[in-house]
Structure formats: structure tokens, C-alpha cells
Amino acid sequence: MLGQVLARGGRLPCVDCARAIATSSADMVNRAAKYRSTRDRSQLLTYDMAMRPHHIGVKKAWLTWHSQNLEEFRQQQPVTLTQDEIVRRFIRGFFPQHVVVHGNEVVIKRRGNVLFVSGFLQYSKRLDHRRIYWMFGFVEEFLSLVLKQPVKLELAFVETEDDVAYNYI
């Protein structure tokens, strides 16, 4: 930061001048939701990644479905948002070998008081059925206790990540 300022020939900021230090993260609008293409076209893009943020609701749907944003039905928007983040992080951390595209694409739907988690997992070479069934049961039980409402997993398995690939760039 200091080096940049000096290189540009700017004034040296005084030590107690808090304005010179930006603590918030840069928003990088021109880079958001854009993926670098590779020479050998090996960068996998799912449909969700290939479509831009402004295509949400037009070419692609939402990753979370609930009625808390509807007019006259706003009761617990922040709670919903927090629950979504908890579920996503937990799925990502609990199935590290099985998640596709780094576990970014987990669909969360709410129906009544039940929270449904759907999306795709991959086999990753060998799939131990008994282990995976236990893990599913554990996730449902654990998240139900944490969120104080029933949680159901509707995750489907694909063989490899290539099955969800929409495009390679």
C-alpha cells in the first residue's frame, strides 16, 4: 500500500490518518462471476457458472428457494440466510471428496417447515454404500438438531464432475 502510494508519486499518508487504509474488501465488479479461459480448454464450467449474475431468474434459477422475500411474508429473512450458509458450509466440509465444483452448487429448498438440500455429489472412484448412507443420516440428524427443524437430503450422485460440465473454456 505504502509502496503503491510512493510509486504513484502521491503524498505520504500520515500515521494517524485512518482514511488512507481501506479495510473493506475490494468489490472487483469487473471480475465477479467471470472465469479465465485456459489454453487447452480445461476449465470446467457448470451451467450455473456459465450464466452471469444478471441472468438469475432469466436463464438460471436461484440456489435457494423460500417465501421469506415475498411481500407480506417476511418473517425471518436473516435467519433463512444464516441457515443457508450453515448448511452449505456443513455439506462442503462433510463430503469433501464427493462435492462437485467445490461444493458451491448446493440447492436449498424449503417446503413447510422442512428444509431440503439437493444438488450433486460425485462417486470419486469408490463409493462405500454403507458409509455414505451413514453420512446422509448423520447430516440429516445433525442439521435438524442445529437448525431446530427437519432437514432432508435429496443429493443425487453423478459419476464424475464431467457429468455436470456445461462447457469447457
Binding site: 457448470t46 451451467y47 450455473d48 450464466m51 441472468h55 436463464k59 438460471k60 434459477a61 436461484w62 440456489l63 428457494w65 423460500h66 417465501s67 421469506q68 411474508f73 418473517q75 425471518q76 435467519v79 433463512t80 452448487e105 440447492v107 429448498k109 424449503r110 417446503r111 413447510g112 417447515n113 431440503f116 439437493s118 444438488g119 450433486f120 431446530k148 427443524q149 435429496e154 443425487a156 453423478v158 457429468d163 455436470v164 456445461y166
Partner: protein, 384 residues
Amino acid sequence: MNRIRGVLSVRNGSSLAEKLREATGEGVRRKAVERTNAVETDASGEPFREAWLMPKRKLRGQLQIEQATGRTVVEQKSRMDIHERLAVRRPRAEEMSADQDWTNVWPAARSFNASVVPLPIRMSYRRHPDKRAPFKKYGNLELVKIPNFLHLTPAAIEKHCLVIKKFMTPYPPELLADPSLADKELPIKVTCSSYVHQGTNIRDMRSRVITMRVNVDALNLDGRAKEKLLRLAGRRYDEVNNLLTIVTDRCHTRKQNLDYAYYLLTKIEKWEELKLRQDDVKVYFSGSQGEKQLVNLLAKTINNPALKTPLKDLGDKPTAEQILQHEKVKDFAETWYKYRNTMELVEPETEDVTREYGRKMRELLGLAKKSAHTTQQQSSSSSS
């Protein structure tokens, strides 16, 4: 060479054999002649054009050449055990028969599952869908995202209805025959709304509100009782369709509000002592200022020889009661009442009504009828 030819003769149908034959120089001329002659045409004279299709993947030979020259690196995958591979089940959708019971396959609401749904579905956006088909069914997250109605097939709904049929009673046939009977026999209609949220909260403040509609005619009230009810109701009464609407939302639960609505219907208040003429729902002729003035005027009119009023038969000095009891005055009082209490929505005030009122007044006072000439003149002046 001879031996090779023998082998070639076995594979006469193969194009590779032809290529080799061409390479050895044999039969080239013959082939060329045949090709020029063998141009097939169909009925409309169009020649048959051969389609040259190349596989999209790289062929094995091409891959081997690229590998040998070091242009590509083909990674070797470890292959699963043959028994393990055979044990992997094909998607369930491929085994389904056309006459299966779908309601057993998909009994309840669920996210889309490609291996279960035997429909050839694709879903995604493509700029040119004819060049490149939309994204396939397997591994398609868009299909998973959208809510589906695969559990609400007509067969499933029929099944559901058959199951809950035993809890139903037949709709009253009398009401089917005569729908207007519903208003008469069931005069009270109670409306309330239930709200379902996605979340753990089942409460909603709006669900406690009760709206009760009562047809006032069905209560069989006499004039006094009806007036009392309408006085209490105020603006809750709609004169046009004769409905009394009571909305209660002051209690915490729906049950309490419903009870309160019924309580309001039976509420009793002392009101007649407090009532004044201004409080009347309608304007009545008896006791009005107009009544007094009319009696005074008519008393003077009777004594005036120039006016031919029909009240002359009452004598020279009739009392106020006598005047009011006269048939013509009663008739006028009725017209007056109607004229003052015009209901805009039912029968709006028109020129004819006003003219009728004027005619009766003139008759009562014994004034001369308006001649056609004066009427015309007046109407023309009013129109201009």
C-alpha cells in the same frame, strides 16, 4: 502379392480393401468409369448425394500418432474390477415399463431425479439450440432447482380424492337445484384466511381476523328491530345488497373473534330514549318542517276562492289532523317520502320524478295545470 489379393477378396465390401486396391494400382480405371456412370437420381431428378460423416471424437489412430509425437498425454485410468462394474445398476428409468403405476414411483413432492424420471428432458439456455442441443438430463442442476409437479399427476390426484372420499358428505341436492336457497337458508357467511409460511413459525397475526356477512332480511326483524340493528351497524350495513358485514380482529385467536362476532349480533343497547329526529335512517314526512308548512298553506288555500283545491270538501276551517288524513295529502306525503329518500344506486333521481312531484304539489294547491306552451317554453329555456 497373390496371397494378399486372396485376403482382399474376402473383404470386398470394405472401403479399406478398395483403398488398398487403389494403392496397388489395380482396378483404378474401372472404378473411375463406374463412378461416372453410377449417378443415381430419385423421382424428382435430384441426384443422390453421399453424406460424409466423421466421428466427433479423435480416432484411435490419430490418438496414437499424437501420443507418439508427444502432442498429447493420455492419462491411464485404473479400471475397476469387472464384477464391480457389472454390479453397478443401470438407471432405474431404463427398466421402467410403460404401464407402470407412476404414483408408486413418485408418491410425494421431491426434487427432480434424472435416474428415476423416464422422460427425454433437456433444460438450459442455448443461443442456437438447433446447432447445440440444450443441456442433458443427467447432472442438470436447473432441473433440480425448479419445483416440479411429478407427484401431482391426474392419476395421483384421483387416488388421493378416492381416499378422502369417505370423509365427505354429498352436496345438498336442494341447493344444487336452487342456488338462491343458500342465501335464504344459510344467511350467515363467515370468512377467514389461513397463512402458511416456509419456516418453523406457524403463527400469523392476519389469520385471527373474522369477516361475518349476514343477510338482514333473513333475520325476520320488524321495522323497529331492524332500525335498531342498522343503527348499531352504522356503515357496516350495505343498503344495496342488504348485507351486514362484521369484521372482528380485536381478540388474539380466531375462535375468540368468531365468538365475539356472534356476540355483536345479539348485543342489546338502550337507544330509543336517546334517539332524535336527526338520527333517523330515513327522512319521514310526519313531524317534519315541511308537514307544518304544508298544513298552514293548505288551510289558507281552502279559504282562497281563486284556487280549486280538492280539500275544499273538508269545510271552511278544518283541523290539522283532518287535513293530514285527507286522501290527496296522504298521497302527496308518500311522494314526498320517496322523493326525499332517493336511493342513487337503486333508482336514481331523474327529471320525471321531479316533474311528478311538482305535478302533485300543484294539484294539491289547486293551481292551474301548466299549459303545453309554457312547458315547452320552459324546457327550451332550460336546455339553452
